[in-house]
Symmetry: C2
Subunit: 399 residues, 2 copies
Amino acid sequence: MKAAVMGYGTIGSGVVEVLNINHDSITKRAGEAIEVKYVLDLRDFPGDPIQNKIVHDYKVIAEDPEIGMVVETMGGVEPAYTFVRAMLEAGKHVTTSNKALVAEKGAELIALAKEKNVNFLFEASVGGGIPIIRPLNSCLTADVIEEITGILNGTTNYMLTKMSVEGSEFADVLKDAQDKGYAEKDPTADVEGFDACRKIAILTSLVCGQQVDFSDIHTEGITKISATDIKYAKAMGKAIKLLATSRKVGDSYCAMVSPCMLPQEHPLYPVNDVFNAIFVHGNVLGDAMFYGSGAGKLPTASAVVADMVEIAKFKDTNLPMEWRPEKLELADYKMVTNRFFVRTKADEAAVKNAFGAVEFVAAEGVNGELGFVTEEMTEAAYEEKAAKLADILQMIRVK
Amino acid sequence: MKAAVMGYGTIGSGVVEVLNINHDSITKRAGEAIEVKYVLDLRDFPGDPIQNKIVHDYKVIAEDPEIGMVVETMGGVEPAYTFVRAMLEAGKHVTTSNKALVAEKGAELIALAKEKNVNFLFEASVGGGIPIIRPLNSCLTADVIEEITGILNGTTNYMLTKMSVEGSEFADVLKDAQDKGYAEKDPTADVEGFDACRKIAILTSLVCGQQVDFSDIHTEGITKISATDIKYAKAMGKAIKLLATSRKVGDSYCAMVSPCMLPQEHPLYPVNDVFNAIFVHGNVLGDAMFYGSGAGKLPTASAVVADMVEIAKFKDTNLPMEWRPEKLELADYKMVTNRFFVRTKADEAAVKNAFGAVEFVAAEGVNGELGFVTEEMTEAAYEEKAAKLADILQMIRVK
């Protein structure tokens, strides 16, 4: 089976590397050798073994009948979308690691692949090397999924872990993450939660079988998390994690991305550094969790190549995937209940006046403010009560 | 699609229950309704809604052309094997939760299913509700799996957790587990590691693609673990878990079941109570872990029903599965290296004379003996050195 790789960046070159490293075992699993015939990139790579495979025009790939599958690792919606559509139209299987593309165009590309009797696979788009797309699609099918919650962004998890271990502030840790190459020069997509938001949109779409628009998801990042917040979390025996979560509410789901405090007994509590994990609660399965490397060249490429193996195994079969284009109207996140950790400059009487019964928390070395945890209430109720309290310094949801 | 359930015990009745509870979502995922037409059992169930579906002769099922898939939840090799073979021979898909059957006859039944262009699936045979069989078979296919290590038995994990939390002895905890229904009256299969042994044999077969005989796997249970061992483990910041593990050694694997001490940073460390988890290390993926309910009526039934959904989705397609009947000669476990925790009545000089440099460990309230951890060495080297030391009270491998 001949393949083409579109985009020879970190993941694309990782795909070529994994196909080389594990050539024999992959051939055995796929039932035949998978050979990369073309690599599409704007650049040339003189001296690289793939230089003679470089093409600059995607039509060369689309029009070559020898090409059975195409890997898309360019990132971003355009021109990836135009290229991927052309490949599917030409009857070629596609696998992608591109969460932006999948979140925005997933349902449409799945439908097009079905029409053409090929496959559009995207295991690497969420959770890097962690198998989660195929398990949701073909393993957790006996359940109604009542909750799916993930640590889906390695950069922010690395930063929060480091803040927790070292007691350092956000800005310092961001600089360190940038120096180490874990965070990009413009870290907005990671630290503001936009990356995690697209990923939970994809997972929610697979869970409900309909299109979930990421722009409908309430998203908060970690830029306001401080060393003081971490001190409180530790005093409470909890860890602050950026969680992307969907909970079933009636016939819909409520999705949100925000920092949360997790108790030690939660399966996601020990997930540290650049690792990702996805927690799932099914109505008959109970709790399950999938853990692994959520990013990185080879782990992500491992998931892409596993898709290529599936494509080789099922080259004449469209593998059913439940993600229809009809949009799901998400439930209003303000109706979801949580407990809320709050820091304020106000006094105890003012806190009790606004929130009623709360649990006050002391953190070592923190003075001149109060920290407390509310009872369980909806976001809407929280906002109403919080409006009655002056000088709120911070609010973090508590699981 | 009409189905039959063979064995109306805990899992079999759970399957019927899950099909009822989630009828609508399962129908959507499967593409059609799955209706249970027969339940095979020796007993009758007067008053049970399935009473009018009870049959006592498996041939009624095998000979009914309306039956497309059969669930086997009887347990044990015979008569399950005879019945399952007959169903596959009759061109019916089969799913089973029966680890004994799969460990012993898996390769043969997979080959027979392929010949008949049907499927023989067994997601529930390892890890209960945790998706692991399908992920190994269709997600981790780009990797050479260098290690697979599981907490695969909920009974023993519950017992070890309780011993750790309460400081109690094995015999007391066993009685509690039996009272709670977590351990059977004859607990041998669980506490001696035989159950975990069959499961790691299945996982290793899937990882290497060949038949691994469970009787070749060195297996130690938890019956000799004492409250004193737990004290030492805590002093070292470690947890004692019954691990079933396979590590790649050259072209083969070395498999073993034994209690081990795990450090806090190991992904399996926080897996407590009746939960199961499977840790996988791939050569390009790195570390991954699958966590969830390893036993129990509904979680296990969830995995069986997920197989039924796959069968409905692929009713005319044999899903490729890499598990050939050729036997894999396992590598000798005595060549695998570990560090070893040892308790002895001998003195320091004797310990150093036998083992050279070791790390002595003190545990609160333990007197009149020495505890130490050796350097990393093979099992063979350990045995040679241990033979030089009198009065060894305990040996536990350290990860």
